[in-house]
Amino acid sequence: MMETGKSEYSSQNTNGANQVYEHIPAEKFAFAQMDTEIRDTKLQTKSRGYFADAMIRFKKNKSSVVAAWIIGLLVVFAVLAPVISPYNIKKDKDVVYRNFAPYIESVAKLNIGIFDGAQTYSSANDLNLQKYRGIAQETGMDPLLEITGTEVTYVMERGQMVAKNFYKVKVNSYYRIGVVNQNVSYDTFNKIQQFQDETGIQVLYPVVEQKDIYVKMSESEAKSVAVDANIWYQCSDVKGTPILDKDGNFKPAYCTDIKKAGPQDQVAYHSLRIAGDDGSYVYSLAKSGSVSVRVCYYNYYQFQQWLADGEYNPPMYIFGTNELGQDLFCAIGIGARFSLLFALLVSAINLTIGAVYGAIQGYYGGAVDMILDRIADVLSGVPFIVVATLFQLHLAQKVGPVVSFLFAFVLTGWIGMAALTRKQFYRFKGQEHILAARTLGASDRRLMFKHIFPNALGTIITSCAMVIPSVISSETNLTYLGIVNLSSFTGTSIGVLMEQGQRAMTTAPHAMFFPAIFFSLLMISFNLFGNGLRDAFNPTMRGAEG
């Protein structure tokens, strides 16, 4: 079968003609119909090319068209997300907002249950609720969104049955942070004041000392209690039970001793004061060379932005943050960008190598085919994960992880394409039009790439659409497993994001779901799209799997 074309050609040469030509000279050719009238009528309908035909068939396949649109949207997302996001994943790694739920302030204020940074705690007790109330009263931001359930349990305490309430609460995790203690230099302290004056946003809150909180204890005893920055009121015990006045209000325990504030020529406080402050509250505590302040983190966050680039916005994490404090929205975009570009590059390289290799195999056949086939066989026998690992171990130090990763994909990736091209070449090389072209003296290369290859193009395009998702999938697998670490190059990748999300699954499911949803959507739509292409280019293959 595979030798048909050649043998016919040579037998005609040796037996049929008197003279054997290497190339038939031009003068031997004559037009068959130079003077006779051509009676064919011209086609009335518009002729349609192969690709136009395939396009029409593709458009009929609704699910593939939808898949193509989804791929388009995902690509647009990958391109635009890092631009839209105000954050940069390499620069902006927040130390407090880690694994925090999606949050957009303007949407959260509408109180419709989305983008409100909500986190559910299943067993909050009365003290927790008091603390939330304290935060709400001091900072004006109420962390408590909703109490979704109450459970009363009775426990034995000092020989008596005591009722204990446990609540299932939904809390705005961004507000829940409330106030934190921060050590800042004199300079920063004054910068914060400047920020407050300019914007009217209260960052600094009056400091408190333990001895003022735990009024019932001796001073040394109170000092040993662990500091909770969110307690600014008098408490009766170390657990933080507030002492309330007769109206049920907190009793402030703010420090009023101006001597504690630090050197007055450095840290004189002249900025906004909180409501109820008669001017005696102290806003800093002296430390050696710096001051300790209580900052509302939500506002301090904006101050940090203002300090860095003059603009300030409340936190806006559309997909929430991951465990490094990166914006997931931006990170998924960055990861997807890399995945898509990398997959395109790998497919292009593998397509070229595979097509040339397969063409040589299929066209020449025989011993060449067998030797090349053995080589491909051996290479394809090495598991990809081993190839990737070996390349990382050998090359990553020298040429960087991305290049060595690329090599790993290229080393074995072209084999499938080569096998496909080889098959197509066997199919077409014995056909008459090839024989005709050969008789006319077309060179091997011309026959291969001008006469046979275009016939195989449909199959090859289809398989290209299938190769891209498989490359993305392998890349994600390997970065997930940590065998390949691309973080130094891209900052992150979808696989890394999912790995981080999986670790934080119990507390921050969003960190796992957003990358996983994006990835699944990409895979599904690429496969549907590929199937549609296959049906369009090879209508005879419709329904057959492969």
């Binding site: 026998g381 598991p383 081993v386 690992t389 997930y480 796992m512 496969n527 199937n531 057959a544």
Partner: protein, 323 residues
């Protein structure tokens, strides 16, 4: 009979070729791994001397081909793959590997066993109800499920079934009591995560094959003979389908033994996948080499078994014949 002889000859040919390929791959990987710089051993540890002596015996200072000869000789005479010099300090690599194998194999065997009935039944239903809404639903679901990688199911199962509902433990149980109920229960999440893709794969093969067989003329003949649709399908169509389905089950069975590294990582299955990752991170080269050979063997074997079983199951197919 002549056909069987032919099939056996073909099988032997394929196996020999596979062994040759395996040898070449092993040689390449062996040289590449031996070329890597060795990590320093802790000084003063009693095992260090043993490992150094072992390395001397393994010919670490000799040419690579000599080293490879010693390596092969040790494997064939004593099944000695060397000593772990980082991960399990001073222990035999092959012993560690064998102790990790059962967990991986069990998880995968369970998932195949679970998948076969589901996959084949769904495939049969889809094929019999071809072009009805049932078929469309099954086919679309199959398509979607195959596209989504198994670790996404692992996330969903771990979050909803293990964490939210608490039906299963979050991670697989430690220990070697593989055939107890708590162990089985702790394996189930991993088994299920793996099964989705396998079920979808079987469904797809069965549906494609059965729809083709059902249109054959002999099916019409069977019906005209007076067989009910049920009888004709079970006795004639299904039997013919098995020619394609059985090899794919067999090769899946072998292929899946290498396990899924990600699933093993997510559910912390104490299996081969975890060992592989650890051996890379710790740069334990002997372990890494053993696992490389393991994964290669599995991959090659799956292909060979698939091809050979075709010939044995259906004598009409003469694999590798010229015409």
């Amino acid at each position: 009979m002549r056909n069987l002889g032919y099939t056996i000859k073909y099988a032997i040919q394929r196996i020999l070729l596979m062994l040759l390929t395996l040898l070449i791959i092993t040689l390449i990987c062996f040289v590449l791994i031996r070329m890597l710089p060795l990590k320093e051993l802790p000084i003063g540890d009693p095992h260090t001397d043993v490992i150094l002596a072992q390395r001397e015996a393994f010919g670490y200072n000799k040419p690579y081909l000599v080293q490879f000869g010693i390596f092969l000789k040790n494997i064939f005479t004593r099944f000695d793959w060397g000593i772990s010099d980082q991960l399990y300090f001073g222990q035999n690599v092959a012993d560690i590997f064998l102790s990790k194998l059962p967990a991986t194999m069990l998880v995968n065997v369970y998932s195949i066993v679970l998948s076969i009935p589901f996959g084949i039944i769904l495939g049969i239903v889809a094929a019999l109800k071809k072009n009805s809404w049932i078929d469309h639903t099954i086919s679309t679901l199959t398509m979607v499920i195959i596209s989504v990688p198994s670790f996404v199911y692992a996330f969903l199962i771990q979050y909803f079934l293990c964490f939210k509902l608490g039906w299963f433990p979050l991670l697989m149980k430690d220990g070697t009591d593989y055939f107890t109920w708590p162990m089985f229960r702790s394996m189930l999440p991993a088994v299920m995560s793996l099964s989705f893709g396998v079920i979808a794969g079987f469904t797809r093969v069965t549906r494609a094959e059965l729809t083709e067989v059902l249109t054959n003329d002999f099916m019409l003949l069977a019906r005209t003979k007076g067989l009910t649709k049920m009888q004709a399908t079970v006795r004639h169509a299904l039997k013919n389908c098995m020619v394609v389905i059985l090899p794919s089950i067999l090769s899946e069975f072998i292929g899946i033994m290498s396990g899924s590294l990600i699933i093993e990582k997510i559910f912390s299955v104490p299996g081969v996948g975890g060992l592989y990752l650890n051996s890379i991170n710790a740069l334990d080269y002997n372990m890494f080499l053993l696992l490389t050979v393991f994964y290669t063997v599995i991959g090659l074997l799956a292909g060979v078994v698939f091809d050979i079983s075709y010939g044995f199951i259906d004598p009409r197919i003469r694999m590798g014949s010229k015409k």
